[in-house]
């Protein structure tokens, strides 16, 4: 009953044509300066509310997760005909190619698996868009604002049924380290075995 009435409210709320909108790629592009200035304010805002670099990175990651969770559905509908990935390697390629193109205008530079650990993968970017205009102060040299991107990736993986932890590091440029849950790898192996 309760659900019904809220549904009604939503549909009768009006002409908000939001549900009718086409999901095709929007034509308008904004300038990178506009984004960079906005992102810089976001970093500063977060910085004022934390005590350490790792807290700051967590905050940025949380904001990224908001973005990732929302962009996932639209990209799956638009680029994959609504079909979701079920294999680890496919979801990783989806992120490296499709997601990166949609968000940053190009594929990610590299996707690698850790030699010694089947749970761990890396997405490597020489010059991540997010960091284009950011210079990291010496005293905070571990700070990598690509934590925001890490959050985007983490939410996309988790919402797709691949729970993982994603963190950003300075290594060969910027490396996003993806650590999948044990269960994800176990399931993937089971799927292979069939």
């Amino acid at each position: 009953m309760c659900i019904n009435s809220t549904m009604d409210a939503r549909f009768t709320r009006g002409k908000s044509a939001i549900l009718e909108r086409s999901l095709t790629r929007p034509k308008t592009d904004v300038s990178l300066s506009a984004f960079s200035l906005l992102f810089s304010e976001i970093v500063q805002y977060c910085q004022n509310r934390v005590y350490s670099v790792s807290e700051l990175q967590n905050k940025l990651s949380e904001l990224g997760q908001q973005v990732g969770a929302r962009i996932l559905d639209v990209l799956v509908m638009r680029e994959k005909n609504g079909k979701r990935e079920t294999k680890v390697i496919n979801i990783l390629l989806f992120i490296k190619v499709t997601v990166w193109k949609a968000l940053f205008g190009k594929e990610a530079d590299k996707l690698e698996q850790a030699n010694d650990d089947d749970k761990t993968y890396y997405i490597i970017e020489k010059e991540p868009l997010i960091n284009t205009y950011i210079s990291v102060p010496k005293e905070n040299s571990t700070l990598n604002c690509a934590s925001f991107t890490a959050g985007i990736v983490e939410a996309m993986l988790t919402c797709s049924g691949f729970p993982a932890k994603v963190t950003a590091h300075w290594h060969k440029g910027t490396t996003l380290m993806i650590k999948f849950d044990e269960s994800v790898i176990a399931r993937d192996k089971a799927l292979d075995g069939r």
Binding site: S16, T28, S31, S33, F35, Y45, L63, V74, L103
Partner: protein
């Protein structure tokens, strides 16, 4: 010799408006969590916009080659046709001039900040795109114009269009060194 066109400066790089829109949405969501009421969120958005405007105007002047505006009408034209186009890829129309020429409205057809945004009922006094007011205020302050900027209408609130009202308050007198300008 003709002067270099308005794109004389280095062409600005473009990026996905979706990432921009969603990033802004994530910010507003975070502010709604961090502050107790919508008024404070509006204030914070305005403040952040102001900080952006103060820096953005440098970028704008370097890229656009526009000189000093001689009156508020020229300012309105530059904002709508050059600046909005350059940064957000849209061109608002300019309407509703006050008789004395110190007030006008920008009508935004499709504000990229609000793509796919719906306001929940419990945030009825949130001015979602208030960042823009701060940006305009901050940028104009850097070119010695004190301006009042506010949203009059907002499609998110069910209005037919989005209208930003700009009112010229006064010229900011700088203490310029003798002999300069």
């Amino acid at each position: 010799m003709a002067r270099q066109g308005s794109r004389g400066g280095s062409e600005s790089k473009k990026m996905s408006s979706e990432l921009f829109t969603l990033t802004y949405g994530a910010l507003v969501t975070q502010l709604c969590k961090d502050y107790e009421n919508d008024e404070d969120v509006n204030k914070q958005l305005d403040k952040m916009g102001y900080n952006i405007g103060v820096r953005l105007v440098e970028d704008f002047l370097a890229r656009s080659n526009v000189g000093r505006c001689h009156d508020f009408r020229e300012t309105a034209d530059v904002i709508a046709k050059v600046a909005f186009k350059m940064y957000l890829g849209i061109t608002p129309s300019i309407t509703n001039w006050s008789p004395s020429g110190d007030e006008f409205s920008l009508i935004l057809e499709n504000n990229p900040l609000v793509d796919f945004v719906e306001l929940p009922d419990n945030h009825s006094s949130l001015i979602y795109s208030n960042l823009l007011c701060g940006v305009l205020r901050g940028a104009l302050e850097m070119v010695q114009m004190a301006v009042d900027v506010r949203f009059l209408l907002d499609t998110l609130k069910g209005d037919g269009v989005t209208e930003i009202r700009m009112k010229f308050i006064r010229r900011i007198e700088d203490n310029l060194p003798v002999g300069e300008e």
